[in-house]
């Protein structure tokens, strides 16, 4: 039974649990066994707490026996990116800086998942402090891509994407600042959703760039993604940037047979640097929408070419300030060599942070400096406004926009590690969505000839998650990509 449970969708597992055909403890044991079997090669987990997970599972079985099940997520193992606080568990951000830090409190999303009965399962690897696109910037380990362990899983939520793709968790949470959910979802062949800014509370998420960060789900189907999103979305009084919009039943609105949409294609997203195999897969997906009666329109997003530049100013400016708290004074890495307070800062931070984090702190400090603020930060904010305006203009004509999620499929480990700029371009199709505060989802849309997954990105209107998920479902219904699972062979 154990091995058969792996890779089943949450919806099916929920039925098995409800019918008593399997217990949550059995389900959890199956995931522990799977993780023990594949993670030594995959390296998706920074850590996991088997005893804690099994005790959560036992509690879930107890609720079910008492007729007090909390719904489809009750008893389902959900992995957590290691930047989301879980009380009593490590919170490392895959950084030496927080190697020994244990969070004393639950993030709001953690609390909400617990309220939905989910089992909070493991700490998943990422690029240090969520800065990167390959998870190679982790100070703890290098995660592989389940479809080819010599390749990267994408990033920064590479551990979350890989764990879901490899059957180590039924779903996972990640965070997305410039594509950190959607890009690894595309590269690992799973569904990944970045919500509208303000839909999901950031309380308890280690901040990278506060005005861009959003937590979102990974799952192996659109429906599982909808279920997980529904559990974590909603206003939180502990996050001033969380909005009071009502949360619809995303799952109930998924299947709309016969529904047609106006879908936009932006010329700017099919430009130089786009791998022909990726382009072809996305075009086939567009053809599918056309075939089910959707109207495809070309839209223009003329400021797209400025997105990467504006992003790397705004994100680094915010991160330079957000990461100031890691100083070795109250918690985290403290240099043993420090002579005085200033020296403590210099040495603790020099020893605690990796190269990419330092690069971004330096860049962000520079753009906020006296005399440069107007030329960089202020101008980048203006560009941001223009990019958002581009999207809102397009949404007067279309319901959603279709793009590739990433210009290429998974690249080889080490291939871009020495070239930050090439790495930054991995996010060229995802960054605009963060700058504009919009929702975006990546759904699998095929494989390359080398059997590497390709992702289709669907960009929705602000708070248009329900429609965006339904559009994704309209594609997924006729494509069985998620029935294919990686064999986990290779290096």
């Amino acid at each position: 039974m154990s091995a058969e449970l792996i890779f089943k969708p949450i919806t099916e597992l929920a039925s098995l649990l409800a019918e008593g055909k399997v217990s949550s403890v059995e389900l959890m044991r199956a995931h522990v066994a799977r993780t023990r079997a594949v993670d030594p090669r995959l390296q998706a987990f920074n850590s996991f707490d088997e005893a804690d997970a099994l005790s959560q599972a036992a509690a879930s079985d107890g609720r079910r026996a008492a007729g007090a099940s909390r719904g489809p997520l009750d008893g389902i193992p959900v992995g957590m990116k290691d930047v989301i606080s879980v009380a009593g568990q490590p919170l490392t951000a895959s950084s030496r800086m927080l190697a020994n830090y244990v969070s004393p409190y639950d993030a709001t999303v953690t609390r909400r998942l617990r309220e939905a009965g989910a089992i909070i399962w493991g700490r998943l690897n990422l690029d240090e402090f969520a800065m990167g696109s390959s998870t190679e910037n982790s100070a703890t380990r290098t995660t592989g891509n389940p479809w080819d362990l010599t390749r990267v899983p994408g990033g920064s939520s590479g551990g979350s994407a890989a764990a879901v793709a490899a059957g180590e968790a039924a779903a996972a949470l990640g965070s997305d600042t410039g594509g950190s959910i959607r890009q690894p979802a595309a590269l690992c062949g799973v569904v990944g959703l970045k919500p509208t800014y303000g839909l999901v509370s950031r309380y308890g998420l280690i901040a990278f760039a506060s005005s861009l960060d959003q937590i979102g789900p990974f799952a192996r189907s659109v429906e599982d993604t909808a279920i997980t999103l529904g559990a974590i979305a909603g206003h939180d009084p502990l996050d001033s940037t969380s909005l009071r919009n009502p949360i619809p039943d995303y799952r109930a609105g998924l299947d709309r047979p016969g529904a047609t949409w106006k879908l936009g294609i932006a010329r700017e997203y099919f430009a130089e640097g786009l791998d022909p195999e990726v382009a072809a897969a996305v075009e086939r997906a567009v053809d599918h929408y056309r075939s089910i009666g959707c109207e495809i329109r070309e839209v223009s997003l003329p400021h797209t070419k400025y997105a990467v530049g504006a992003y790397y100013i705004i994100a680094t400016a915010e991160c330079s300030s957000n990461l100031s708290r890691y100083d070795g004074v109250r918690y985290g890495h403290r240099s043993a060599e420090a002579a005085d307070a200033v020296d403590l800062y210099f040495k603790s931070r020099a020893e605690g942070f990796g190269a990419e984090v330092k690069r971004r702190i330096i860049l962000g400090t520079y753009v906020l400096s006296s005399g440069y603020y107007d030329a960089y930060y202020l101008r980048a904010q203006k560009v941001r406004t223009l990019i958002r305006r581009d999207f809102l203009n397009a949404f007067r004509e279309v319901d959603a926009i279709l793009t590739p999620t990433s210009p290429t499929a998974a690249f080889r480990k080490g291939e871009r590690a020495a070239d930050p700029l090439a790495m930054y371009l991995s996010d060229i199709y995802t960054i605009g969505v963060n700058l504009a505060g919009l929702p975006g989802i990546s759904v699998p849309c095929g494989f390359t000839r080398g059997r590497l997954p390709i992702g289709l990105q669907i960009i929705g209107k602000p708070f248009g998650e329900a429609d965006m998920l339904a559009i994704a479902r309209a594609y997924e219904r006729d494509h069985a990509w998620s029935a294919q699972h990686p064999e986990m062979n290779g290096a």
Partner: protein, 482 residues
């Protein structure tokens, strides 16, 4: 050459709220070290700030009381700098859009004597903004310790224009500001508890010059008297430097109130680049007209306005008003007693002299006083009606302090009431007149003092309880008719 000083003050005032500026944990003084903390105060990974609306209300109230323009939107910025007492290594503050702009503080300069009102003038304000306080460092031989209880306490910074010209004016400014803050319930401004802290920018220039001289910032002025002494010292220091042919260096100096000396802390070259930018964790908050109107409705009368009203409306002497007005509760106490008695001057005297002296002697705060305004008013009325003689009034007051009983009750129980039976008094007076025909004749002949000859026998007959005023009136009436 004669010099004049140009002084601007930056005053930090802790805003009185139940919880901290950006989180729910309690704000307060004197709790065990690091007990008033939570993930937000300690800047744990993932913690986020949420604005305390009450703190904003309080600063808007301060701004309205001081005549500031209130910004339509309250916007938050980050001020970035590393220091161990600052948990996030940035302070949430307001940079280019302070919540309050302009306004002024009315001050009273020292008068010719304490019985004479001094000149008043308005000291212009630049701005008031809201921010969060930092923690407290203690340096010891074994290392430095940090208490984060104070960190995150709502703090407003009140910046004056360089509009003050002397140490006395600075003293008057801080005194007036403190009184206003206490009046509004905005802060207790206890400088010993760090609830009010002052930095002074001081420069000098030849009298008549309009350009500003090089300024020196004085820090760590931790009482209003030290502010006055520190500024006076700095003015003398600058004059002496300039007169010896030297130049003032722009710097920050630390004034030691104990030794009366100052020393340089840092020069301008070490000035920080704070890399201000809008805090992306906090949304701007709109302060609309209805919000402002609600707060304006709760603003009390300003202290100097009240003093002017007491002087004109109640005809109370300046010295009494300057005792009553700085304490809002005391002035309310007075107004209540004045209203109930209809005799504001007498009520003011009892309160400013007897009540305060006795409370002070017993170490009782006004709020715990057994003597309430109605007691004072009752006593005033008894005296005014001639129902008790002066010495008895003091006895009654002391008994009220002791027991909290109404003055009428005390008077009756102790038998202090002046004889009230007019018939009996008249009988005693008639008997006294009948017993001394010579004095009657003297009085009728125009010797007014002859009337005193009757008073002794009347008082003897009354066993001392007759009201002397009433005795005098009755005797005169009878003599007139005789």
């Amino acid at each position: 050459m004669n010099y004049e000083a140009v002084i601007g003050l930056e005053v930090h005032v802790q805003v009185r709220t139940a919880s901290k500026m950006f989180t729910r944990v309690a704000a307060g003084f004197g709790a065990p070290e690091n007990s008033l903390t939570d993930p937000v105060v300690l800047a744990l990974p993932g913690a986020l700030p949420v604005m305390n609306r009450e703190a904003l209300n309080q600063v808007v109230k301060a701004g309205l009381m001081l005549g500031c323009a209130i910004a339509p939107v309250c916007k938050w910025d980050r001020k970035n700098y590393f220091y161990p007492d600052s948990p996030k290594n940035y302070q949430i503050s307001q940079y280019d859009n302070p919540i309050c702009v302009g306004g002024s503080v009315e001050i009273e300069l020292p008068g010719a004597s304490r019985n004479v009102m001094g000149a008043h003038r308005a000291v212009a304000l630049t701005r008031i903004h809201l921010e969060e306080d930092v923690g407290k460092l203690t340096h010891g031989a074994g290392g430095s310790l940090i208490d984060f209880n104070r960190a995150g306490t709502p703090l407003m910074e009140i910046v004056s224009e360089p509009d003050l010209r002397s140490a006395d004016e600075a003293f008057a400014y801080l005194t007036a500001l403190k009184t206003i803050m206490i009046y509004g319930g905005i802060s207790d401004c206890d400088m010993e508890k760090g609830q009010m802290r002052c930095d002074a920018n001081v420069s000098i220039r030849p009298v008549g010059a309009t350009a500003l001289g090089t300024k020196v910032e004085l820090k760590n002025l931790n009482s209003i008297s030290f502010v006055r002494a520190g500024i006076a010292h700095e003015i003398r220091r600058q004059v002496s430097v300039v007169e010896r042919g030297g130049a003032i260096v722009q710097e920050t100096r630390d004034y030691d109130g104990q030794t009366g000396a100052s020393q340089s802390l840092r020069s301008k070259e070490m000035a920080h680049d704070y890399r201000y930018f809008p805090d992306p964790d906090l949304m701007p908050v709109r302060v609309d007209e209805a919000w402002k109107a609600r707060i304006r409705a709760g603003c009390p009368e300003l202290p100097f306005d009240k003093q002017r009203r007491f002087l004109s409306e109640y005809q109370v002497p300046y010295t009494i008003t300057s005792v009553l007005v700085p304490d809002r509760a005391l002035s309310d106490f007075f107004e209540e007693a004045a209203r109930l008695s209809g005799k504001p001057q007498a009520a003011g005297n009892w309160i400013a002299n007897d009540l305060l002296r006795e409370l002070g002697r017993a170490g009782i705060p006004l709020g715990a006083s057994r003597v309430r305004p109605a007691h004072v008013a009752g006593l005033v009325k008894l005296v005014e009606a001639g129902a008790i003689p002066g010495p008895a009034a003091r006895e009654v007051f002391a008994a009220m302090m002791e027991t909290g009983e109404a003055p009428e009750v005390i008077v009756d129980r102790r038998g202090l009431r002046a004889g009230t039976d007019a018939g009996e008094l008249e009988q005693w007076c008639r008997e006294a007149l009948a017993g001394d025909a010579r004095s009657v004749a003297d009085f009728k002949a125009g010797k007014d003092s002859a009337i005193n000859a009757f008073k002794g026998p009347v008082m003897r007959a009354a066993k001392g309880k007759a009201n002397p005023k009433l005795v005098d009136e009755t005797l005169r009436r009878l003599l007139r008719d005789a």
